[in-house]
Every structure is written in C-alpha cells, then in structure tokens.
Symmetry: D3
Subunit: 319 residues, 6 copies
Amino acid sequence: MQRLPKVTALSVDDSGWGYFLCSYKELRAGRSGSEFLFLSLQDSSGQVVGKLMCDVERYKDEFDAGEFVRVEGRGSNYNGRVELVLSSIRRVNPDQDRREGFREEDAVLSAPRPITDMWAELQEHLQGVKNNHIRVLLNRIVADHEAQLRVWPAAQVIHHAYRGGFLEHITKMAEVGRHVSHAYGADWDLVLAGIILHDIGKLQELAYEGGAGSYTRDGNLIGHIALGIVMVREAINGISGFPDDLRAQIEHLIASHHGVREHGSPVEPKTVEAFILASVDELDAKLNQVRKAVAEDPGDDEFTAWNKRLGRVLFKGKA
Amino acid sequence: MQRLPKVTALSVDDSGWGYFLCSYKELRAGRSGSEFLFLSLQDSSGQVVGKLMCDVERYKDEFDAGEFVRVEGRGSNYNGRVELVLSSIRRVNPDQDRREGFREEDAVLSAPRPITDMWAELQEHLQGVKNNHIRVLLNRIVADHEAQLRVWPAAQVIHHAYRGGFLEHITKMAEVGRHVSHAYGADWDLVLAGIILHDIGKLQELAYEGGAGSYTRDGNLIGHIALGIVMVREAINGISGFPDDLRAQIEHLIASHHGVREHGSPVEPKTVEAFILASVDELDAKLNQVRKAVAEDPGDDEFTAWNKRLGRVLFKGKA
Amino acid sequence: MQRLPKVTALSVDDSGWGYFLCSYKELRAGRSGSEFLFLSLQDSSGQVVGKLMCDVERYKDEFDAGEFVRVEGRGSNYNGRVELVLSSIRRVNPDQDRREGFREEDAVLSAPRPITDMWAELQEHLQGVKNNHIRVLLNRIVADHEAQLRVWPAAQVIHHAYRGGFLEHITKMAEVGRHVSHAYGADWDLVLAGIILHDIGKLQELAYEGGAGSYTRDGNLIGHIALGIVMVREAINGISGFPDDLRAQIEHLIASHHGVREHGSPVEPKTVEAFILASVDELDAKLNQVRKAVAEDPGDDEFTAWNKRLGRVLFKGKA
Amino acid sequence: MQRLPKVTALSVDDSGWGYFLCSYKELRAGRSGSEFLFLSLQDSSGQVVGKLMCDVERYKDEFDAGEFVRVEGRGSNYNGRVELVLSSIRRVNPDQDRREGFREEDAVLSAPRPITDMWAELQEHLQGVKNNHIRVLLNRIVADHEAQLRVWPAAQVIHHAYRGGFLEHITKMAEVGRHVSHAYGADWDLVLAGIILHDIGKLQELAYEGGAGSYTRDGNLIGHIALGIVMVREAINGISGFPDDLRAQIEHLIASHHGVREHGSPVEPKTVEAFILASVDELDAKLNQVRKAVAEDPGDDEFTAWNKRLGRVLFKGKA
Amino acid sequence: MQRLPKVTALSVDDSGWGYFLCSYKELRAGRSGSEFLFLSLQDSSGQVVGKLMCDVERYKDEFDAGEFVRVEGRGSNYNGRVELVLSSIRRVNPDQDRREGFREEDAVLSAPRPITDMWAELQEHLQGVKNNHIRVLLNRIVADHEAQLRVWPAAQVIHHAYRGGFLEHITKMAEVGRHVSHAYGADWDLVLAGIILHDIGKLQELAYEGGAGSYTRDGNLIGHIALGIVMVREAINGISGFPDDLRAQIEHLIASHHGVREHGSPVEPKTVEAFILASVDELDAKLNQVRKAVAEDPGDDEFTAWNKRLGRVLFKGKA
Amino acid sequence: MQRLPKVTALSVDDSGWGYFLCSYKELRAGRSGSEFLFLSLQDSSGQVVGKLMCDVERYKDEFDAGEFVRVEGRGSNYNGRVELVLSSIRRVNPDQDRREGFREEDAVLSAPRPITDMWAELQEHLQGVKNNHIRVLLNRIVADHEAQLRVWPAAQVIHHAYRGGFLEHITKMAEVGRHVSHAYGADWDLVLAGIILHDIGKLQELAYEGGAGSYTRDGNLIGHIALGIVMVREAINGISGFPDDLRAQIEHLIASHHGVREHGSPVEPKTVEAFILASVDELDAKLNQVRKAVAEDPGDDEFTAWNKRLGRVLFKGKA
C-alpha cells in the first residue's frame, strides 16, 4: 500500500495510507440503525471529508478531534467532490510514526509559502525601519511572540485560517503596503508598525491548537482591537523615551484598522497611514477569500458556485 | 446697577451686571461696515447669547473665549429667545472680582445637583461593594482621579455636557442600575464597576477647560473605550491577586457599553451585567437630552420645536 | 416503574412514565423504509425531544400535536443533549389520569414563578395607582381579560414564550420600571399603564392553545400595536370624564413601545415615560432570551454556542 | 393701480394690489439698525416671498401670520426668483374687501383641479361600490367628514400640502388604482376602501387652519395610521352585520399602506390589495413632489437644482 | 394506464404516465446503502417533486437534468404536498413520443396566458406608438429578438421564472402602465419604450435552455442594465436622425428602472416616466411572487406559510 | 505695484495685481442698501474668496463667472482665512494680457504635478502593456480623448476636482496598482485597462469649462458607469479579433469599480482584478480628500476642523 497524495492532489483513483489532522469528528446515526463516522481531515495543502462506514465500533474511540491520525482509505466521489472513504483510523503514535515519515507541519492546513521564507522577509522589514522608537518596539514585540507569530492563523474562519496564515497576511500586507506608502508619501515606518501590530491582539483573542482556532475568554469579551492596544501600550511603557504622539498614532492604527465602526473599529481612520492600513488589510483579507473560493470550487464552469460569505459568484475564467 | 439674575431666570426686563464664562466669541462683520461681537455666555444654570454692538473696538480685545468675564447689559428678545445686549465687557480680575462676589463655580454651566451631594453618594456606593477585588479597584481609580471626577462633564456636546455632568451621569446610573441588577439577579458589584468605569477613558479622551470640553489627541485617535480599558488594565496590574476572569468581565463592560458596534463598541454585550449597563447608560443619556430639549424650548406649545439630534419633537404637556 | 423527573432534571439514567404536552409531532420517514415519530414534549420546566422508534404503527394515531399525553420511556443522549426514547404514548384521559396525578399546569411550559404570586403582585401595583382615571382604566382592562392575562405567553417565539409569560413580563417590568420612574421623576402611574397595556393587543394578535401560540388573522393583518390602541380606546370611551391628554399619552405609550420605527412602532417615544417604557421592555425581553440561551446551552464551555437570534455567544462563567 | 396677477404668473414688471394669505411673518433685524418684514404670501396658484422695507413700524402690527392680507407692491428679482416688494400691507376686512373681489379660496394655495369636480368624481366612485358593507362604510365616513375632506391638504409639508390636496390625492389614486386592480384581478371595492381610508387618520393627525397644516397632539403621539384604524373600527362597530374578515382586511390596508416598517407601517402588505394600495400611494406622493419641484425650479437648465428631499436633480426637458 | 393530469391538478389518487421536463436530478444516498433519485419535474402548469426508489440502477442513466422525460408513477403525500413516486423514467424520443402526444410547450413551466395572445397584444402596443423614432426603435428590437421574446422567462428565480414570463411581464406592465401614464400626463410612448426595453439586457444576461434560466458570463460580469443600454445604443446608432435627448431619456429608463441604487440602478429616476416605470415594474414583480406563493401554499389556513423571500406570510382568505 | 503671489502663498501683507479664473460671482445685497461682489478666484495652486466693496457699479459688469480676470487688491483676514479685498477687476483681454504674462494654465486650479510629466508616465504604462488587444484598445481610447484626458478633473466636487485631476488620479492609481497586481499575481494589463477606463465615461458625464465641472444630460440620466461601458464597447467593436471574454472582463472592471451597489455599481467585483481596481480607486479618492482637507485647514491645532464629507476630523500632526 502506498502513501496517499496531498489533499489537493487527491483523486478517486487514489488509495493508500496517510497522516492527517482530524479537525472534526461526529458520529452520525443512520435511521436504519447503522452509524458512521463523519470526519474532517487536513494536511498542509487542504481539507477533505473522511467517512468511516465499516467497523465503526472498533475505530471510533481510537482517536479524537484535534489529534493527528493515521488512516487507510481510498478516494471517492460525492456530489462532485472527492472524499476519503476510510477502512481504518488511529491516533498517531509520535515516536513510532515519526520514523515512518510523520511530521506535524505536513499534517496541518498551512500557508502556501514556507514559514522560514516569510519569517526572513519579516526580519528584513524590521531591519529597514528607520525610526529608532518604532524599530525597538516592533523588534521587541516580534521577539516576544515569535513562537506564535511563526505558526498562527490570521483568523478563526474567514481568511488565512491556517498554519502560518498570520505571517502570510502581514508579510503580504508589508509587500503591498510599502509601495502604497511610498506612492502617497506616507510614513512607511508607521504603516509597517500598523501592519505588524494591527492584529497582534489576536494572539490573545484566539487559541490555536490542533490546527484549529477558537475564541478565548478575552477574545469573546474584549476583542483583538482593545487587546492589541493594551499589549502595545504595555510594550511602549517598557521603552524609555518613546514619544507620546508616536504612541498615539500607533494605537490609532490598531484602533481604526477595520475602517468603519460597523466592522468593530471604535474610531475611524484619521491619518494617511491609517487609511492605507485599513485599505491594504481589507484587500488582503478579501483576496485571500477569493483565492480560496476559486481554488476550492469543484465545478467546471467559468464561475464558482454562490459564495455565501462574499455574497456573489466569482469568475474563474476558462478551464 | 444691580446684579443680573441667573441665566435661566433672565427676562427682557432685567438689566445689570454679572459674571459669566465666555465660551464662544466671534467678531461678525455687518455689510454696512459695522461689526459686532457675538458671544456665548454661561453661568451654572444655563447658556445665553450675548451681543455687543457699540464700542466694539474698545472692548473686543478685553477678553478671550474661555475666560471668565464681567459684563453689563440688559435682556432683549430675539426670535422668542432672551439674549443679553451688552454695553461693556472685560475679563475677570480674580483678586478684585472675588471680593465683589465672583466664584468660578457660579459662572460655569453645571449639573443641577450640588457636587458634594453626588460625591457623597458615590462614596456610599463604593463602600457597599462586597467583592474585595472590585472594591479595591474602584477605590483606587476613583481616588486617583478625584479632581477630575468631581467636576468633569460626561461628554463634549451630546449629554451631561456641563460641570459635574460625569458625576451626575454615574450616580444616576448607579441609582437606577442597583434596582435593575437586583431585579434580574445580576452581580451588582460588577454592574457598579461598569457604571463607574465605562466612561473612565473620557478623562483622557476629553480636555475640560474653561467650561468647555474638547477632544484630545488620544481621544480623537484612540477613543474612550480603548483608553478606558488600558487605564483599568494598568490599575488591575497593580493589584495583586486580581482574578483574571473578573478582569475580563470588567473590561468587557467597558468594551461593550455602547451596546452595538455601529455605536463604536468593538464587542457587543455577552453577559447579563453588560446588557444592563448598556441599557441604563443609553436611557440616562437619552433622558438627559430629553430634559434639556424640553427645558430649553422657548415656545408655548405642548410640543418642543424639532430636535435634530433626537430626530423628533418632544411632548412638554400643558403649560 | 416510577414517574419521570421534570424535564430540566432529566438524565440518561432516568426511565419511567410521565405526563407532557405534545407540542409538535412529525412522522419522519427513514430511507430504509422504517419510520419513527419525532415529538416535542413539554412540562412546566422545559422542553425535550421525544422519539418513538418501535411499534410506530400502533402508537401513531393514539394522540395528536397539541394534546396532553402519557408516555413511557427513558433518557438517551443525542449530540450532547438528553432526549426521551419512548416505548409507548397515548393521549391523556382526563378523568382517569387526574386520579393518577395529572395536572394540566404541570404539563405545560411555564414561567418559573407561580402565577398566583405574580397575580397578587400585579394587584398590588394596581392598588397603588394614584390617578383615578388610570386606576379605573387598568382595573377594568385587567378584570376583563383576567383569564388570559393569568396564563398567556408574552410572545409566540422570541421571549417569555410559555404559560404565564405575559404576566411574568409585565410584573418584572413593573418591578424595574417603578424604580426607574422614581429616579427620573417620571409619572409612575403612566409608566405602569404603559407596562400593563403595551402588549395588551397580543391578546388579539395571538391565539394560545395547547401550550403553543400562533398568530390570528387580526394579528397578521393589523398587529398588536394598533389592536392594543383600539382596545384601550374602546375601554376609555366607556369611562366618563377620562381626560383627553391622558388618553393620548397612554395610547402614545402603546404606539411607541418598540422604540424605533424599524421595529414596528408607527411613532417614536416623545415623552419621558415612553422612553422609559421602551427601554424597560427591551431589556426585559433581551434578558429573558439571554437567560434562556444560557440555561439551555448543553456545553461545558465558559460560553454558549452561537445564538442566532442574538447574533453572538453568551458568557456563562465557570462551571 | 391694477390688481396683481396670480403668483405663478407674477413677473418683475408687475405692480399693483392683491389679496393673499400671509402664512409666515418674521421681523428681521438688519445689522445697520434697520429692520424689515420677511413674509410668505400665497394665493391659490402658489407661494411668493414678500418683503416690506419701508415704514416697517407703521405696518408691522397691521396683520399676523395666518391672516388674509391686502398688499400693494411690485415684482422684484432676488437670486433669480421673483419676490414681492411691498409698499403697504393690512389684514383683510371681510365685509369691505369681499365687495372689492376678495374670496378666501382665491387666496389659499390650492389643488389645480376645482374641488367640486374632484368631489363629484369621488361620489361616482362611491356609487360604484358593489359590496354593500363597504359602500355603507365609505359613505358614512365620507359624509361624516365632508367638510374636511373637501378642503384639507394631504400632508403638512411633503406632498399635496395645499387646499384640496387630500381630495386630489385620493381621486388621483382612485383613477390609477381602478385600472391596476382590474389588471391584477384584485378586489376593487377593497382597494377603493383603502384609497379613501388609508390617510383618514390625518384628519386627526393634522390641524389645518389659515392655509397651513400642523401636527395635533394625537398626530404627534399616536400617528395617522393608528388614528385611522380607530376611526374605522368605530365606524364599523356602528354598522350591523359587517363581516369580521372584511373589517380585518380594511384595517390591514390602513396599517400597511406605508409599505415597509421603516416608513412607519406596523405591519407590511399581506394581500394583493395592500400591495397595490401601497404602490399607488407612494407613486402619487412621489410624482406630486416631482411635479412641484419641476414647476417651482427657477432656472433655465434642462435639470432642476438639487432637490434635497428627493435626493437628486430632476429632468425638466428643453425649455 | 392513463395519462397523468397536469401538475397543478395532480392528487394522491392519480397514477399513469406523462411527459415532463426534468429540471433537476440528484442521486441521494441513503445511509442504509440504498439510493434513490430525487427529481424536479415540470409541465406547463407547475412543478412537482419526483422520486424513484426502485430499480435505481436501471433508470439512473436513462436521462439527464434538462431533458424531457416520459415517466410512469403515482401521486403520493409527503408532508402535506403531493409528489410523484415513479416506477419508470426515460428521456423523450422526439419522433416516437410526438406521435403519442408529446409537445415541448406542454412540458415546460409556462405563463398562464397563451403566448400568441400576449404577442398579439404586444404588437398592438407597438402599432399605437405615435413617436416615429420610438416606434422604429421598438419594432426593430422586438423583431430582432422575436424568438427569445416569445418564450423567455423574465428572471432566473424570483418572478415570472417560466416560459413566456418575459412576455407576460411586459404585456401586463403595458396594460397597467398605459393607464398610469395617462393619469399623470406622462409620455406614454416613452413609458412603453421603458417597459419593452428595461429588461432587454436579460436576453444577454441569462441563458434559457431546457426550461431553466442561468446567468451568462456577461450577465454575471456586466449585468442586464448595462447590457441593455449597450443593446439600445447600438440599435439607435443604426437609426438615422434619432434625437439625442430622446436617446438619453430611453437609456435613463433602463438605467434607473430598479428605482434605487441599492437594487443595482446606477442612477435613480429623474423623469416622471422613469418613476412610473420603476413603480409598475416593482409592483408587477411583487404581485407575481405573491400569486405564486399563494398558489403553491399547500396548507388549509387563511395564511400561507412563511415566505422567506418576501419576509412575511400572505393572506389567502377563506378556503 | 507688484504681482500677487500664488494663492497658497498669499498673506495679509500682500498687495498687487494678478490673473485668476473667476469661478463664482454673486452680488450680495447688504441690508443698509450697499452691495458688494462676492467672488471665488482660483489660480493653479488653489482657491481664494475675493470681495469688491467699493465702486461696485463700475466693476460689476466688467466680467462674468467662468472668465479669466485681472484684479488689483490686497490680502485680508476673515475668520482666520486670507481673502482678497479688491480695488479693481476686469476680464482678461487675451492679446494684451498674454504680453504681460497671462497664461491660462496658471489661472486654473490644477493638479500639483505638471501635466506633461503625468502624460509621459501614462504613455510609458501604455507601452508596457503586453496583451496586444488591450494595448490597441487603450492606445486608441487614449489617443481619441487626449485633449480631454490631459486637462480634465476626475470629479465635479469630491476628489481631484481640478485641471489635470483625471490624469493625476489614473497615473497615481497606475503607480499603486502595478505593485498591488504584482503582489497578488493579478493580470496587470487588465488592471491597467481598468484604471484607465473605469472613469472614461466621465468624459461624457461631465462638462468641464472655465475651470468648473458640471453634469451633462447623459451624466445625470445615465451615469459614467454605463456611459463608459458603451464607449468601450464601441471602441472594441472597431477592433477586429478582440476576444469576447477579455471584453467582458474589461467591461466588468468598469461596471464594478464602485465596489458595492449602494455606491452605484450595478454589479460587484467578481475577479481579482476588479477587487484590486475598486480598492485602489477608493483609496486614491479618499487620500486626495484627506490631503485637501489637511492642506486647506486654516487652524493651528493638531487636528483639522470637522470634515463633513469624510465625517471626521483629521490628524495633521505637530505644526
């Protein structure tokens, strides 16, 4: 038996074994008395539905949602999408399975770019900051949260909701934002600070574990905008001589980055840099959703099926 | 010449001298070449338009907006409202004028209740807090900002926009909120914390000077909700053993107190206490506007003129 | 076999017999040919799903939705919620079953407080009315509709949708509203009139039978606001000497109690009393939903699952 | 001196005397010390600004707003609009002035069609009603309010705000609505009832005196929709054997005629007839505003100036 | 075996054979292993669910969605609606089946009026146009698209979504619009042009095949409003001497016919004719939905079930 | 007497003569009988109020709004802004005044960058287009409208409302858009086509004369989105072999560039390129407003006065 290909390459002709993160598990009861396991399985490239129909009793306690699993199965077609029909499943035994090629990062839905590349790019941006105060601040915050910043998603569901998504989001925003700042004579140091810090509160808003994000108590009760401002204020308090108007402008970038109050920003952009940040953030989030909708659409038409969140179909172009 | 009555008692039959805060000053140029001074004068009871038509050159540099002034003049009717037509005006000379009865608090638009009464009531509420953590927190913040809390307004324009307005707003909310909390079995200590702290960020959002509030840099750029959360977080950081879930709930009260995102709350109420706080806050602000609109309406009809901010006329009842 | 506990106390360990109102009944066809009965059963404490899988043919015509039933069964777990799996079911035979302990009020979803207590409280409020006209009006309307007012729900679905819900809603509003009126120097008699009469049109808008509310023709076509105004106008027409401005103010309370036109109020609050009524009504309806969502949430987390109607999760606190 | 032409025919070349209703009067104080009277004068064809600059003292107490006046003056151009510059003004002395040709109906802004024509048309519609119950109801209500229905405006400001406007509104709606009802197989008797009764509450909502409408207490506090339903209910109560479902449908027409809740309808259309009524009502009100905006626009362009209420310019076509 | 009645006349007592368009086909997998075919079948009178439970393997490749089929089966009740339970199904063999009575137009959901009647009515309207330019334009466009205009639906889903729906929509609008235009002294030629042309872009926006409409590339990317303006501009470019202001007014009718920008009109009505067009269009679309909702509601109540698109229940009246 | 400095450099210490465009002229009547001319004067750098108080009769017919004028006068302070108080004014005599240094482009409010620079930049972009079809299309349209594209504003009022504003808007968008397209792997040729063509309909929507834009008949009735699509369609029709899907995507860019229907786009973005275009367009328009509001704010505070169109104050930073 051979190893299954990556999820995005999976076809009905494939069968074999593989490692996945099981991000969802439900025992569905058929009315005829039979039960089956309905699972969501992910690897770094994407997500696929898994179903185990036979020997349910034997396998159903062999793993839990949130755990890495080793499965055997074959591709199957359901309403035009490929699924995995499983013949066996069990939780990964790290010691043993690592020897057979299991790596955690391969089995978690991930950003398309390697994390090391993105991290290096972020470091370059940091080194290019001219304003001493801002550079110190950004380096300190990035260093303090390196472990999270490397692997966290940028959101629970809507956009960049996968391993490395946070880093992908801010490096792409930095790539775009630098040019936009230059074009409008904006203060690039400030815009970069906004890009790196605007979602920093998400590190407290979300918990990211087992390949899935969930809201924390502070996330539900306070939200990442206020949490981020508190984090930045505490960091700035620890830096002597940080100019107060600079602090206010940086906190403004965080406070206003959703652009309008209806989207949860308690204040709206009042500086050129804040307008740029909100625009670049929104475009990056939107395009990430567009790319995902286009990539995941199973049909052969020029357009995707109706995308509920975006409220429209999307043009895919000719096959 | 006798002293003028309080602004709310002023009639066209009055003439004399008085002390006021000049909160607005504009030199209006008439087309015939003549100029006159258009002023806004306030004492503790209310606000009145002042006009100086004669000897403008002589008086126009004798004072500035934001200063206390001594005027001589008489009541006059303009479109159904009483105005003061001035014959002289000069800035107050504190040493000299105090001897003649000038007191700053008499010449600034003020809450109807004496500040000492409201302050005592606030202290009683503080002493009644059962939760030690909350009591320590509230006492510390109230003590730290006593000077401001005693005299600040609750807003720049919309409601309670006068000396002592902040204190009037939170004591009235406490009076109401205690009963509401009891009725719904809510945690009164928490609701009281929300009442006292929900607008605490306004002490940094606004600058209050010369009887007029204006937005600070932090107010414009960050807003009182995030500023308040930062203030409370810093206070709580200084209190050892403060339970983290309690902190989160208190910060939630501040974050959600505008009730909906469209009104600037980054998160919406998710606890019984937060629903109560938002409701009591909104009602108190609305009724303060209603009372003001009814009190200031000059007409004799059963209804006020159209109130633009509230988007309606208001019922005054029979004369 | 013993009697089943109250619905809210039911666990998977319970089995036995009990009396319920069957508020919903559907024959669901399994694809394998088998059918089962899907039921909604309620007693005074809550609602539970009932399923009858065996002997469906024998039992399916033994009762109808809207009838009281006697069932035998046992608790069962389905997706984390307790259900009742039934082995038999039949409609109640009043004569016989009363002897075995059947009481209608025990088998209908009900307000948590006893109706007699709430009714006594309402009477006290009525006796406290100082304005003769208002007291006569309220007493007459309450007396005329006593049978309904004692047991009706306050709404078909959204809040207080159970036996005694109307009475629970107005007594709680009266408890809260009295303090609020006092705090703002409002006319308590008027506010009380608004509390008792604001939803009086629901007695014509809804039909309440068999533990379930439904919309009447007049409810769908005219709505409880206009219906209530007509009812009150007719009652006032029968009271000689009722002052016309008082009538207008009372009708205004009914007309404006939804607060804004988007929620169906043809006019918006224009009196202090109307602002208070709309605020107290909305808070009571919201908190009833919050309590229900928290009480019914089956999970162990600090927060409930997403509540669609409220558009948020709710904080439950530590277990 | 000759008599002035109708307002809509007035030019800068005209001078003479005339009778008008003075609907607005304000003493405006010039900064140079001089005062002048700023007036709004209307005759049946339109409205014009009047200004009296000289001998203000002599004339200013010779009349009040809301009175008929006799003026002498000449046309004058102000910012592209014709005004009347007056040399004298006094209130009408009915006995004397009637002999010189004064007629009240000539001096009040009026519908373009003669009232007698419109009234006859309404009577024809009434006679054509086939349903006995509806015919009795309509005849009774029309007869009871004939005096008002003949001369009232349809609104205070927005549309048909002139003598006979109510009658013009409902006869035009009847002309249109009959064809629409026929086209859709709707019940024309019901639609006609909706047309005649939908605004009947305005007879209590507004007070119409001296050529100007204003809101009554009931109008402000209850609104014409609920007032109209009360009026119709009381009329129906006085007609024996009126079918209850017919009553509900007629009240539904009144309740839903604004089409959506945001516009103040407590319920939205649920019958074919209610959809037709709301559509015909809205179109007639809109087109009346369009006609007025086009007619009153002073410019020579193909488009009117910006119309604030309609939020657009309007096409007038070639001159 | 006899021929099945029309869909709208189908009852549980019917069995036999018939011709239908299969507009939807799905193989639903039962959990017990069994599969069944879930179909949507239409004839000219309506739509019905079809289910084939037995011999699925044998029949499932005998036809596709979008094809005409010949079925055998019997009426069956499912949750109060009549369905067709099939014993056999195959695609129509035109040569053979025509001999047995198959006609395409009988097997496609169609407008209630015969197309030839509606077409004749449209021709009459065209002949009545007085303005030469408009008449030439309309005749040319109608002639160029006769094949489509005769049979297309007016929309994909929302209203008049059946064969001949486009023609039914514009002839009904013309019937109504002529009277409305007359009543308001509007230019009937222009209004008629608007009625015939307002949706002309739908001929490029939609593809209509096999009884079902779908969006084309141009429809998704450009929309019928801009497409229609392009079509009309090209037609006008081919007519010498077409007055430019007339062209602009006709294009305005197309551009503004959704009435407000939120509904996709890039400009809002600025002429009397455009206000009339938007009003008549909206009413016709709404009433078509109302009629459909009432006609298809299976219940016996006075009201339909909740209609999601219209956001309300609808009054059906007594049975 | 010396020549006055540029408007943006004008101070109260300046006096002399200069050339301006008079974009607004009003004879204001003072109540004391005296009149004065209120003017708006512009040169390439900005706009300033001009007032002529003396010898009004002599000068008032010496020029009209929309003409170039030669004035003599001095700077004056009015409410903190510099105005020009004129002692003489007359229309420019081109022959004579050119000899004294008059150049039209110096006397019209203009984009800050020289038009020749921006034009050269646009040409470079055009030369870089790789797709032949797009390059032909863009070159043709740009060549056909060169005269307008060089000097037109981008809007009548809101943003880039000055000579060369259209060109400034699209070159800045191209500068930004190129980087954004690259970052997201979008088709830069397509995005550039969208940038150059998205507002092309404004050349028909607006008339630009005498330094001021106004709406044309087609602009008011059809709007620049549909007009632009028609223009592009006609241009594409003249290019043989233009791929239809490319045409549809380009028209989509025009149709969707306002981003949402509420802003007048009949369809919303459905391609990556359309999302980018709408984002870049909105940001450029917003930042142009922000720059203008900051530049024109006369105060010394860190923030501008309230900006009504943007609905906020703006941060200017330290003086």
